[in-house]
């Protein structure tokens, strides 16, 4: 079946604009994670959804960042009033509970 997909693959936006990044996880996967990765850096955890539980938002860097997961499937990461330091690759991953994570190809965000 299809893997994790993310859209758009690239997004260039002006400073101050809002952006929405989408993640389509593998069907049936209960866990969904969002990460941010700057060039040459590690994975910065942003948010974690597990089933119907309240999401773990402890990694969101500011209140400009929010995410939702509708119907336990598709997730959207929203960044309001984007800043240049938000430029990075945003990765989504899904898994079955504590099994291996499958990563999407990422969205490369550039804030000009």
């Amino acid at each position: 079946g299809a893997g994790v997909s993310q859209s758009p693959s690239n997004k260039v936006t002006e400073k101050g604009k809002d952006v929405e990044l989408r993640c389509d996880p593998i069907s049936g996967h209960t866990a969904l994670y969002w990460y941010r990765q700057s060039l040459g850096q590690g994975l910065e955890f942003l948010i974690y959804f597990q089933g119907n539980s309240a999401p773990d938002k402890s990694g969101l860097p500011s209140d400009r960042f929010s995410a939702e997961r509708t119907g336990g499937s598709v997730s959207t990461l929203t960044i309001q009033r984007t800043q240049q330091e938000d430029s990075a690759v945003y990765l989504c991953a899904s898994s079955l509970d504590r099994a291996e994570q499958y990563f999407g190809p990422g969205t490369r965000l550039t804030v000009t």
Partner: protein
């Protein structure tokens, strides 16, 4: 909270040599996972270890989970240029959240 640390951060290896990268957690892990990210790509799952003292091999890669389930290692023998990339370890904490280490970036010199 739980922290997962990896050392070294960078590893320069001559082709054909062996090297080891280490992963240490501040708390006991229910499992340990290893991922590889090639330059320009996204992390790809390599293996999962669950049992205390478990050792698993994938061709030239040997993965080990410590007896106390707080550390792990990845040993690569006879390094090849195809081994280039960043290797991440990750462990689930008691709440089920997966915590990634910062990764070991491997550069192979022909």
């Amino acid at each position: 909270g739980q922290q997962v640390m990896q050392i070294p951060q960078y590893q320069h290896v001559q082709e054909g040599e062996d090297f080891t990268t280490y992963c240490n957690s501040s708390t006991t892990l229910s499992n340990i996972q290893w991922y590889k990210q090639r330059p320009g790509g996204h992390p790809v799952f390599l293996i999962q270890l669950v049992k205390s003292g478990e050792v698993k091999k994938q061709k030239r890669l040997t993965f080990q989970f410590g007896e106390a389930k707080k550390n792990s290692s990845l040993h690569i023998t006879a390094t090849q240029t195809t081994d280039v990339g960043t290797y991440f370890c990750a462990g689930h904490d008691s709440w089920g959240k997966l915590q990634f280490g910062a990764g070991t970036q491997v550069v192979v010199t022909p």
